[in-house]
């Protein structure tokens, strides 16, 4: 559009807006400056009560202590001064800086003392992407560069926590899921809920405060911080710096559990462990008690096996002793050893009777085995062991014809001479 064309178009628009007629209304009149600015202001406020302007931020200043924002909005052709009051500025989630392309919604008015035309901004959005998305990226970058996400700061979770803290809302499914999963998996814990607001004004401060309170109390071994699914806006508290800092400062390991599988929040990055959902946090914070029962069974079996083996070795030693010294040692010595084995077997039996209910089958097998180990028991049943000049006779090759063989029975020894041998068919 060429310049004359544009002027015609603008004049046409002014006529449509009624400006042309009004401008003519004051033709040739003498106006005071104050009157003029007031009239201009009225015209502008009437015509530009709500506009959205696209432009680039420059000369950005946050005035302290008032907290009002001052900046210039410009493009290649022009610029306009803009102001944003503190109450509106507090709702801007991302950091504004010079050069940023934005959409500003507001009204146009005149600052009478200087006769300046100003855009009074009510809200600002980054052009091209969502404000929350930009705020998220900005904070993520900032905290990352400060090292808040670094692996070396991540604390390991306790294997078996005794006390678990939960920072979440009492409403919603998240808290119920966490309670029921922990109650099912590993109820040998104390679960302490710290109810907080998880969305809306003040939610981030409440969450951060609860984390700090837990840290001060020191009454839990691990913390779950989170909430169920929702929109980006709903989850926003977990993208706030105050929450991120509280998690980072917390000396108790923190599990972040926000929203669904696909939702990533700043809390997730700072926390020691990220759980995809509140339920997932409950699953990973405690082991399954049935797995631990299995471990207990295995350990009991290992202990029993070890003691069995020990008694077996003892039996071998006694066997060796009886075979070597049976002639020289008084019989009472052997009896004492045998008695010891009986005694141990009996004590073992007593405990095995009380062995975990679930292992009763295994128990009877072990008992049978241990009873079989006692030589006295075997001898009582009519079995004997034979001792020759070369030691225990376990084969017909261990002894020669006409040699002495001592047959040990439960109540004494028979002295015999080998008169013949018959191998098995």
């Amino acid at each position: 559009m060429s310049r004359p064309q544009r002027e015609i178009a603008e004049a046409q628009r002014d006529r449509d807006l009624g400006l042309f007629d009004r401008r003519n209304a004051y033709d040739e009149q003498v106006l005071k400056v104050g009157d003029l600015t007031r009239l201009i202001k009225e015209v502008l406020e009437g015509s530009f009560a709500s506009v959205i302007v696209e432009g680039e931020i420059s000369n950005f200043k946050r005035h302290m202590p008032s907290g009002h924002l001052y900046f210039t909005l410009k493009d290649e052709q022009a610029q306009v001064r803009a102001v944003m009051w503190r109450s509106d500025a507090a709702r801007v989630r991302f950091d504004i800086s010079d050069g940023m392309k934005v959409l500003v919604k507001g009204r146009i008015s005149v600052y009478e003392p200087r006769g300046d035309l100003q855009l009074y901004a009510a809200s600002i959005q980054p052009a091209g992407q969502g404000a929350l998305q930009l705020a998220f990226e900005q904070l993520k970058k900032k905290l990352e560069s400060e090292g808040l996400f670094a692996e070396e700061h991540k604390k390991p979770l306790p294997y078996l926590p005794k006390r678990i803290g939960v920072v979440t809302s009492l409403e919603g499914a998240a808290v119920r899921d966490i309670i029921s999963i922990i109650a099912r998996r590993f109820p040998v814990v104390e679960l302490t809920i710290y109810p907080v607001k998880v969305q809306g004004d003040g939610a981030a401060e409440e969450i951060a405060g609860a984390i700090r309170d837990f840290d001060t109390l020191g009454n839990v071994d691990v913390l779950i911080v989170g909430r169920g699914g929702g929109s980006l806006e709903d989850l926003w508290a977990f993208n706030e710096e105050v929450v991120a800092r509280a998690i980072y400062d917390c000396t108790i390991p923190v599990i972040s559990a926000v929203g669904h599988q696909v939702d990533f929040t700043i809390s997730d990055f700072v926390a020691d462990v990220r759980a995809a959902t509140p339920s997932a946090a409950a699953e990973l914070v405690v082991p399954d008690r049935f797995e631990i029962q299995d471990t207990l069974r295995t350990l009991s079996r290992d202990i029993t096996k070890a003691i069995e083996q020990l008694l077996g070795q003892l039996q071998l030693r006694i066997d060796r002793l009886t075979s070597h010294y049976a002639l020289q040692q008084p019989a009472s010595m052997i009896d004492q050893k045998l008695q010891l084995v009986d005694e141990l077997t009996r004590r073992l039996d007593t405990h095995l009777v009380h062995y975990l209910e679930s292992s009763s089958q295994q128990l009877s097998a072990v008992k049978a085995h241990l009873n079989a180990l006692g030589p006295q028991q075997v001898l009582k049943r009519g079995y004997a062991f034979v001792q020759g000049p070369h030691g225990i006779v376990s084969s017909i090759d261990n002894i020669n014809l006409e040699e002495m063989a001592m047959i040990h029975l439960t109540d004494g020894i028979l002295n015999t001479i080998v008169k013949g041998k018959h191998g098995k068919e």
Binding site: T192, L310, H354
Partner: protein
Amino acid sequence: MGKSNSKAVMEKTASEPDFEKSLKRLEDIVETLEGGNSSLDDSIRLYEEGMALAKSCSIRLSDAKLKLKKIQKSSGGDLEETDIEE
């Protein structure tokens, strides 16, 4: 939040026997017994202790009921812990 209050909260939770310690002790016993270097008397004692631990842990696991608590800030700003029902 008062200091005395936080102390009271800590004392309340300190008495519970430690499940993880019991489990660790049990594992140590197995290791010692399997090492086979203890005297007979010691071994029997360890065996007895181990079986008792396994039993008590197992009973605790099957009988345990989740202890549920809630923290609230009083109007004075103190933190109050109360038991709640599931």
